[in-house]
Symmetry: C2
Subunit: 338 residues, 2 copies
DNA sequence: CCCTACTATGAAAACGATTACACACATATG
DNA sequence: CATATGTGTGTAATCGTTTTCATAGTAGGG
């Protein structure tokens, strides 16, 4: 139904001119019909009919060339294989679909340079806007974001002067640390991630430290380790901690994934089932929740952040001239199982 | 550096003509330089210089209109929030990036009609090819696939006449069932998914049944339940099974995610830690492996299937005329923890 | 009745690349 | 020496839309 078969048997794509001829109007009229310009009811009807008959569909490529808009949004993520990112992209995709856009996904595999590379690629290429699920923000990032030719919204980090949707990691970590400090007796250790990831690295660690300190149970700097966001790195760091300081009674982690690794390590060293009450995380991972009954963690509305960021971006693109819609939005959090 | 600033201060994008003028050649020459046509060393040098100077980048939109190719591949997935799909898309993205393509991701959220919708959208739209991570394959799907204007490769299901990369779910399930039957004593139950998903539903269930039967420990049809791929549905089905048949000693599941739910259910009913030795799954989920030490499951090379499917697709697109590259490819599997 | 303002319309000019075609020159082939 | 064959180049057509412009009819306001 979508193609017309010519007499030679070769499929030929129907173009606007064909529709116009069939309807007895100019192609300008067809274009107007499609885009909501002036068109008489009479011709509109004929055009509608001709389109149905031929199964015509617009060439989005010609349209893109002429209008400069592709209805494509570039989404840059650090890792596709992670629950938080999955949830965020689910939220992004939801809004995009509803508003007639499509998602061009770029996966950087946690390489900051690939992030910049994609930022560059997307600018000169076919996207109308960019959502960057950010991890590390270097000066180079800041420059790239600033000079970006298309609107861009960040998720996960708060960057001055840029549109972003983020969570208050410091505050959340503070609350978690404060709550845990009161409940625990022995030594507390911490497995974090690089400070270059301001939100998940710096803020969570500093917030957690401050929370513990405020509750009168400060964190021993010697009991801090760095992981790489992965389960295995959490496991490794925990094993090392437990061998260096066998009297550690609790291991707080910067992510649930690393917490799962730490949990495994504790189970191995101290016996099965021991880990469950001795780790905390960030992110409220569904798997972890189900399998452990719930470790202390922080719930973030990842899906919501995707939704909000995308709406923000699309408002700027589709919105009336003046108002840009771009701003910064801090979302709430929720302590779980404390 | 990417734009030239005109005297009025308005940013203007550099186009091929500008480069050509600066280099003192025709724009055809520039195009040839860019695309590897005949060009003298002398002019090539001048053009190269002019491009660097102006920071020129091709308009992929004009290029797409003229050539009919967008270097975009549509990827349709049933759910973005799942380890198997994440791994597959990671594989797809890897190959795409290496070979100069980008990924247009469409998430159907397990709705078969949205799958068809995207298939249609992609055809008339800007993709050069499609990778469909398939679940249910209806007649309508078959028709849509057959009449697809661009090359398409399926992942996860075996469809006659279509290019596909898949695993032998029947055989894997048979082996798993056979291996487990020998090791277990009591009653075995099964939580599957809809038969409409031929691979994960029909094949796994039938294979598992056959494996048990072959080992002389057939599956009681009354102990079969249907889940929805989710952890919660696995949990629900298991709770129901345990209440209806309290003497069930083992619950095999069609996915690791549902197995996690079943595990939780057993732990709740029979006491913490009981579940670990009483469930099996499919997919070798990393979280589950770490947290349980490993339940019996089947390991599939999900990343590999993404890689293989994409290579297959791109070979057809980039390859020499004759050979299509499209074929069917069955990947191996590996029993874990049995 | 005259002047705006709005609705309708088609012809033709963009948008920015690729490429068919025509031509020119060099080198090899017989 | 005549004739292929392979390089190198520019002009102009082309891809399929959207949009400017010119033109007209129609209605409303004074």
């Amino acid at each position: 139904m979508v193609k017309a078969i010519s007499m030679t048997g070769v499929a030929r794509v129907v173009k606007m001119k064909d529709v116009a001829e069939l309807a007895g109007v100019s192609s300008a009229a067809v274009s107007r019909y499609l885009n909501g310009g002036y068109i008489s009811a009479d011709k509109a009807e004929r055009i509608k009919h001709a389109i149905e008959l031929t199964g015509y569909v617009r060439s989005s490529q010609a349209r893109a060339l002429r209008t400069g808009s592709t209805k494509l949004i570039g989404v840059i993520v650090p890792k596709i294989n992670s629950e938080s990112v999955s949830r965020i992209t689910a939220g992004i995709g939801q809004v995009l679909g509803r508003r007639g856009y499509q998602m061009l996904l770029a996966n950087t595999d946690n390489a900051a340079d690939r992030e910049l590379e994609y930022l560059d690629l997307f600018q000169n290429h076919p996207v109308d806007g960019i959502v960057l699920v950010a991890t590390m923000i270097t000066d180079e990032h800041r420059r790239a974001i600033e000079s970006c030719r298309v609107p861009i919204v960040l998720i996960g980090q708060h960057v001055e002067g840029a549109a972003c949707v983020y969570h208050d990691d410091y505050e959340a970590a503070f609350e978690l640390g404060h709550a845990l400090a009161g409940r625990l007796d022995g030594k507390i250790a911490y497995i974090g991630v690089t400070d270059e990831d301001r939100a998940a690295g710096f803020d969570r660690r500093r917030g957690f430290e401050a929370g513990l300190r405020a509750a009168g149970n400060p964190l021993d700097a010697a009991l801090i380790r760095l992981g790489l966001f992965t389960l295995d790195s959490g496991y490794g760091a925990a094993r090392e901690l437990l061998s260096v300081a066998p009297d550690v009674s609790f291991i707080a982690c910067a992510t649930d994934t690393m917490a799962a690794g730490a949990l495994r390590a504790i189970d191995e060293v101290r016996g099965m089932g021991e880990g469950i009450h001795r780790v905390s995380g960030f992110g409220d991972n569904a798997f972890l929740r189900a399998l452990t009954g719930g470790i202390p963690t922080v719930h973030y509305g990842y899906l919501t952040s995707g939704v909000e960021a995308t709406n923000m971006l699309l408002n700027t693109l589709d919105g009336e001239e003046g108002e840009s819609g771009l701003k910064t939005l801090k979302l709430g959090h929720q302590l779980m199982n404390v």
